[in-house]
């Protein structure tokens, strides 16, 4: 009799334990389902961000490819660049138009990139447009010194000689410190 009762008690205990086990399993399953939903949402968000970043990198790379490498190479030192520009000005072309140059203010600006800015003022004279354009072409249309024209004036005198004033800013950027990242290539390959 005791054995029967014992068997029944053990059986009931086993059933209770199994039911509890099943209940806990069911709860675990629900919790995991909720966590999976959250993970799915998070995954979608990350996937969208990844796509945006890839597009952005693509745009940046496209934009970078439009910048000439010689510009990105920049100058070793702003002062050296400044002196180099002064040497550039020691030219017969400037003398041909009786040009004079005055260095004005020098300062440093952060935008759009860190650069050293030096203002120059040129005065020159010419009687034929060829002379003037030769000078202007020499000064403004080289591919070495970034110049920004801030003032331009040409006025004819009573004698027929045209006097010109040209104001430019020499913008020497700090050397680019960021080599194009190889990881970006990886990104694109993905």
């Amino acid at each position: 009799m005791r054995l029967k009762a014992g068997v029944i008690v053990v059986g009931v205990l086993i059933i209770v334990q199994l039911l509890m086990f099943a209940y806990f399993l069911s709860q675990d399953k629900q919790i995991i389902d909720l966590a999976l939903k959250d993970l799915d949402s998070r995954r979608q968000q990350l996937a969208a961000e990844k796509a945006d970043l890839q597009n952005r990198i693509k745009e940046l790379k496209s934009m970078i490819s439009a910048i000439p490498p010689w510009l990105l190479a920049g100058f070793e030192d702003p002062e050296a660049g400044f002196v180099e520009f002064l040497d550039f000005l020691q030219s017969d072309t400037l003398k041909a138009v009786k040009g004079t140059v005055t260095v004005k203010s020098r300062d440093f600006t952060q935008t759009p990139i860190p650069l050293h800015q030096t203002a120059f003022s040129f005065k020159y004279q010419f009687t034929t447009t060829y002379e003037a354009e030769k000078f202007i072409n020499y000064l403004l249309f080289q591919e070495r010194y970034p110049l920004q024209v801030t003032g331009f004036n040409a006025k004819k005198s009573e004698t027929g000689v045209v006097g010109g004033d040209l104001s430019v800013s020499l913008l020497i950027p700090a050397r680019l410190q960021i080599p194009l990242p190889s990881s970006s290539e990886k990104v694109e390959s993905r």
Partner: protein, 486 residues
């Protein structure tokens, strides 16, 4: 794994017992106890898994009767009523029966039933002694039933047979159907000769003659009761010397076929002579399900047992069901866990990729400034080198440009630089000057270098004979791809 069986025989007011191991290979008796005290018997009962008991039960009434066909639930009452009528109305026998089949009697179909009715005084001592062992006691039957059943199951005789078991002081004569259902059984007060008598031929002759009379009386009763002939097969069981005795002194009126052992040994591991002497105990192993006189208290126990078994079965089913459910839940949980880990791994990989991409974007972002710087310095510069030659090409003879200047502003706006030129026109009249200026403005507008914004035109001095008209043109200098284009 073996089952430990205790076989008990209650005969001549004393107990004999034998412990037998039931194994897959058959029945293996243990050595018979030297002294069969009640204490030793009870100790053996406690150790046994199953207990089978037989007894002489001298009050037992063996009947084969035809009963009207009744519903099964009423059959026991009908049989009991018949037994009471035969034993006496005041009695309260225990009755067990077996339905043998249908017979037709005077055109009416009846049930052929064999039953045994036993008075309580033959059963009460057994119930009292073994009641405490409850469910272990599997059967309590008359010795005759055990012997007949054993012979029928082992030898499978084809017709009625007789079994004579000879005890120390009394013997049992049984006549049975081929199926082992007892038809007639008698306990006779005649035992195997003891002491010197066993070797005295005269005593043995007398024993044989007396036994012959007892057997004759029994067979005569059988013939009268059943209207059948004396069985042709007779077993003498209980002692190995029976063969010698009855071969030397044949039983008067004995059947032709007399055997002193069964065709096969009923148990294994002991000699034939031992098996023959213990046959009344070994016979319990062959007891039929019918004709077992278990105490009435066992009935509720059996009901309880049934309920227990049902409960056990239900529990097992529930355990299996819940277990299967839990197993499936666990499987589903494991699947989700695997999916969770997969998602986490995917998210971690995505996070790493996003972090790398963010780093790349941060590294590349400063180049946006470089692009703007490039546009402001090189890419979008106006065609300064073409201003004068272009003006020279477009300028009519009667127009003089006095000044060309840049309107100060911070860098080009959308690739355009604002400028202004002023000069004078020689013309006959204001309208003619205006016409010249219009042509000049149109030419400027069509030039790739200039874009006219507005024109200001006014006479210098209306009183002069040669009319000179001043003008001022605000214009934009357009960008050129490169100075080298010129």
């Amino acid at each position: 794994m073996s089952t430990r069986i205790l076989s008990v025989s209650y005969f001549e007011d004393s107990y004999q017992y034998l412990e037998i191991d039931k194994q897959s290979g058959g029945y293996f008796p243990r050595p018979a106890p030297q002294t069969a005290t009640v204490e030793a018997l009870l100790a053996a009962c406690r150790q046994a898994d199953e207990i089978y008991i037989n007894a002489a039960m001298p009050s037992a009434l063996y009947e084969w009767e035809n009963f009207p066909k009744v519903a099964k639930k009423y059959l026991a009452n009908v049989v009991m009523q018949d037994a009471r009528e035969k034993i006496g109305e005041g009695s309260a026998p225990q009755v067990q029966h077996k339905v043998l089949g249908d017979v037709t009697e005077a055109g009416v179909t009846k049930s052929r039933i064999a039953y045994i009715a036993v008075q309580p005084e033959d059963l009460t001592p057994l119930w009292t002694t073994f009641g405490k062992f409850g469910k272990k006691v599997k059967a309590i039957s008359p010795l005759s039933v055990a012997l007949a059943s054993m012979a029928a199951k082992i030898d499978r005789p084809s017709e009625n047979f007789a079994v004579v078991w000879v005890g120390p002081n009394s013997s049992m004569i049984t006549i049975s159907s081929p199926e082992g259902v007892v038809k007639v059984a008698r306990t006779v007060p005649l035992g195997l000769p003891q002491g010197e008598a066993i070797s005295d031929p005269e005593a043995l002759r007398v024993f044989s003659e007396e036994f012959g009379r007892e057997f004759f009386m029994t067979s005569t009763f059988f013939k009268q009761e059943f209207r059948e002939g004396v069985p042709n097969l007779l077993y003498f069981l209980g002692h190995t010397q029976l063969a010698d005795i009855f071969r030397e002194h044949p039983l008067p009126g004995a059947p032709a076929d007399v055997r002193f052992s069964l065709a096969e040994p009923p148990v294994k591991g002991i000699s034939d002579s031992q098996a023959n002497e213990l046959v009344h105990l070994i016979a319990n192993l062959y007891l039929p399900d019918e004709f077992s006189f278990l105490p009435e208290e066992a009935a509720p126990a059996r009901t309880g047992d049934l309920a227990y078994r049902i409960a056990l079965a239900a529990m097992v089913l529930i355990i299996i069901g819940v277990g299967f459910w839990a197993y499936r839940l666990n499987g589903a949980k494991q699947e989700r866990l695997a999916e969770y880990e997969k998602q986490v791994a995917a998210i971690e990989k995505l996070q790493d990729e996003v972090l790398t991409l963010r780093g790349d974007v941060e590294r590349l972002q400063p180049l946006v400034g470089w692009k703007k710087f490039y546009e402001e310095t090189f890419q979008n510069r106006p065609a300064w080198n073409m201003v004068f030659s272009e003006l020279g090409l477009l300028l009519p003879e009667n127009i003089v440009i006095d000044e060309f200047r840049l309107i100060p502003q911070r860098g080009p706006v959308a690739g355009k630089v604002a400028g202004e030129m002023s000069g004078s026109i020689k013309a006959d009249n204001w309208e003619a000057g205006l016409e010249v200026l219009r042509d000049f403005g149109a030419n400027l507008q069509s030039s790739p270098v200039f874009e006219v914004v507005d024109v200001n035109y006014a006479p210098e001095d209306v009183q002069k004979i040669t009319k000179v008209f001043n003008f001022k043109i605000r214009l934009n200098l357009l960008k050129r791809g490169s100075a080298h284009a010129s």
